[in-house]
């Protein structure tokens, strides 16, 4: 067959794949840092709305708010709150790591920086747990 006659088959174009953000087939620590940062970022936005909701009960009087705060004493919600501590500390610290990277600071040490972020996050969460329970 002449080259001119050859009709190249239409390639199968990949769809945009949001799944790649959350895929756990990560190749390195940086990939995990990215995934966790995105997840915690989204969780923080969701929490922000929950936070607004809780505060908005104040507009329905002190009683409504107090009733909610009683609910907060439940072990399940305390556990969620502990999760929130981890989420905030991780997102904040890794946010600093990301900003340093963007300034071209510590790029060669980005993995070590991630492990430090993780260590501080775990430590702070343990300390918070000791205070809460």
């Amino acid at each position: 067959m002449l080259a001119e006659e050859y009709k190249r088959p239409e390639p199968l174009w990949p769809k945009k794949r949001l799944g790649e953000w959350f895929s756990i087939a990560k190749k390195g620590a940086g990939g995990w840092a990215f995934l966790l940062h995105r997840l915690t970022g989204i969780l923080l936005v969701l929490y922000l709305f929950l936070h607004f909701y809780v505060l908005s009960t104040l507009s329905r009087g002190a009683n409504a708010y107090d009733n909610l705060t009683v609910l907060m004493e439940s072990p399940f919600l305390l556990l969620l709150e502990l999760g929130l501590v981890a989420v905030i500390v991780y997102h904040g610290l890794n946010g600093i790591r990301l900003m340093l990277l963007t300034l071209n600071v510590g790029v060669k040490q980005q993995k070590e920086m991630f492990w430090v972020v993780m260590a501080i996050t775990i430590l702070t969460t343990i300390i918070a747990a000791l205070f809460m329970f």
């Binding site: 190249r8 088959p9 239409e10 390639p11 199968l12 174009w13 990949p14 945009k16 794949r17 949001l18 799944g19 790649e20 953000w21 895929s23 087939a25 990560k26 190749k27 390195g28 620590a29 940086g30 990939g31 840092a33 990215f34 940062h37 995105r38 990301l98 990277l101 963007t102 300034l103 071209n104 790029v107 060669k108 980005q110």
Partner: protein, 235 residues
Amino acid sequence: MAEITFKIFRYKPGVIDSPRYDTFKVDVEDYMTVLDVLEKLRLDDPTLTYRHSCHHGSCGTCGMLVNGKEVLACVTNVMELGTPVVTVEPLKNAPLISDLVVDMVPFFEKYGPVEMPLIRESEYLPEGKPSEEVGTYTRLESCLECGLCLSACPMVATDPDYMGPAALAAAARVVQEPRGQDAPAILKMVDNEQGCWRCHSAMECSEVCPNDVDPGGMIMYLRQKLISRKLKGHY
């Protein structure tokens, strides 16, 4: 020698229309690479398609996913993978043509415009002095144009117009050592949301790059350059 099961992705418009995995049992010698196995399988099934040329990790044509990770098949030893089942798939984030072959045209369309000069003073020549920006010679023109980094990047996955790590690394290289190219123009070219600001520093590109180009680090270099220029413009 050991018997290894190969799960190989198949797709061939007009022949295999819905993508599937074929399983092959292969007796693998200690020296064999994934590319060796593919060539062995091809003797029995000539329809199996994949790209390769050099067989020694310098042409960058044999990029594929082996056990989910972007590698050059020709320098990936099968036994060293240590898994009884080896999964072989085409690169991600690129149009699929046939089996393990993806269309590299979109990659080169992004890579080309940077026009990285390929002629360089050798770092081995006594008179070869690295430019001030480079400091010491590191082999940055090592890019094989294999596209592994684009396959690994979570941002390329969702933004087809993102320049991607390899082209940005080439751009950074031109900025570091222009060799007659217009460095400010290149900086301008990457200073947008489809350029160096799309990256979210996942560093997966640098993780899979077979030749230490460190595209992620090069993107951070571009950002630092742009930020410091902007700050200087303001004050």
